[in-house]
């Protein structure tokens, strides 16, 4: 049941990405091009998504637990550290180069273009590298030389 509902929800999510224009890299780059022929459409998308989610969360979280689960799960990290800021900055740079973020890239993957396949392959490699890096540095460096990692 959880799997079916996650699938249906995700189809809805992907449909929202298509209808809004977020699944179109040209639209994303026009949205980020504030000094050029700026297309603010996706600002409205972000606003509508945030307001809908905020109101919906407030309503849903009055329950003690999810309908199909034991507990609501939120990220526990609270630190605003260089890892968060730099990671997001690198993500934004890649987003600005091509116009894909992870969700829209996966939605576009089924359109069957070679460009999307290349992007997804590189994205998965980047994710794998980022996940491998902390354990690699743990193996190579003595504990005293390592900064504290908050994950």
């Amino acid at each position: 049941m959880r799997i079916v509902l996650t699938f249906v929800t995700s189809v809805l999510f992907g449909t929202g990405l298509i209808i809004s224009g977020l699944a179109n890299p040209a639209k994303v780059l026009s949205f980020l091009d504030v000094a050029g022929a700026w297309d603010p459409s996706l600002l409205l998308t972000m606003g509508a998504a945030v307001i809908t989610t905020g109101l919906g969360y407030a309503w849903v979280l009055r329950r003690h637990r999810p309908i199909l689960g034991d507990a609501f799960q939120f990220p526990t990290a609270t630190a605003i550290d260089p890892k968060l800021v730099l990671g997001a900055a690198l993500f934004g740079t890649g987003w600005g180069l091509v116009g894909y973020c992870p969700g829209p890239a996966l939605v576009a993957l089924s359109l069957g273009n070679l460009e999307t396949i290349i992007f997804i392959a590189a994205m998965l490699a980047g994710m794998f590298a980022a996940r491998a890096l902390p354990s690699l540095s743990a193996r190579l460096l003595p504990a005293s030389a390592r900064g504290k990692r908050i994950t």
Partner: protein
């Protein structure tokens, strides 16, 4: 690349659907709708009992475009660069950055901001700033 036109109604409708999906996922499964989190935890060596749920989420995103075309008869608007160098560099940065920064446009930009998470507000400001700066440099300084 192609200029695009202001589409307020469809873009607001799309945003409401994205938000509704995030709310439903929380209501039923108690989870944040964070695409990069779902995808990156499918890669080895990550193992817990959530793999089927993550696969279902990815499958739903993959099914969205064919279902949209089937139901509406319309195509999915999509124009992307043909430069392999840009695609590889962009993909690596998006993958590495979202794992390092613990989220992307969905997890930080929508779900995180909706619950006023300070981390997500900072992360979203960061990726919006570098996204805008990258497009500015590419289009207006380098003329790509």
């Amino acid at each position: 690349m192609n200029a695009t036109y202001f589409t307020p109604y469809t873009s607001i409708l799309g945003g409401i659907l994205i938000g509704a999906a995030a709310v439903l996922l929380m209501a039923f499964t108690g989870r944040i709708a964070g695409v990069s989190g779902f995808v990156s935890r499918l890669l080895p060596p990550y193992a817990d009992d959530q793999t089927p749920v993550r696969l279902a989420f990815v499958a739903g995103l993959l099914a969205a475009a064919p279902l949209y075309t089937l139901l509406t008869g319309g195509g999915v608007p999509h124009t992307v660069t043909g430069s392999s160098a840009l695609l590889v560099a962009g993909g690596l940065l998006v993958g590495f950055g979202t794992v390092t920064g613990s989220g992307c446009t969905s997890g930080h930009g929508v779900c995180g901001i909706a619950r006023l998470s300070p981390r997500s507000l900072v992360a979203t400001a960061s990726f919006m700033a570098t996204g805008i700066a990258t497009v500015f440099v590419a289009r207006h300084l380098l003329g790509v």
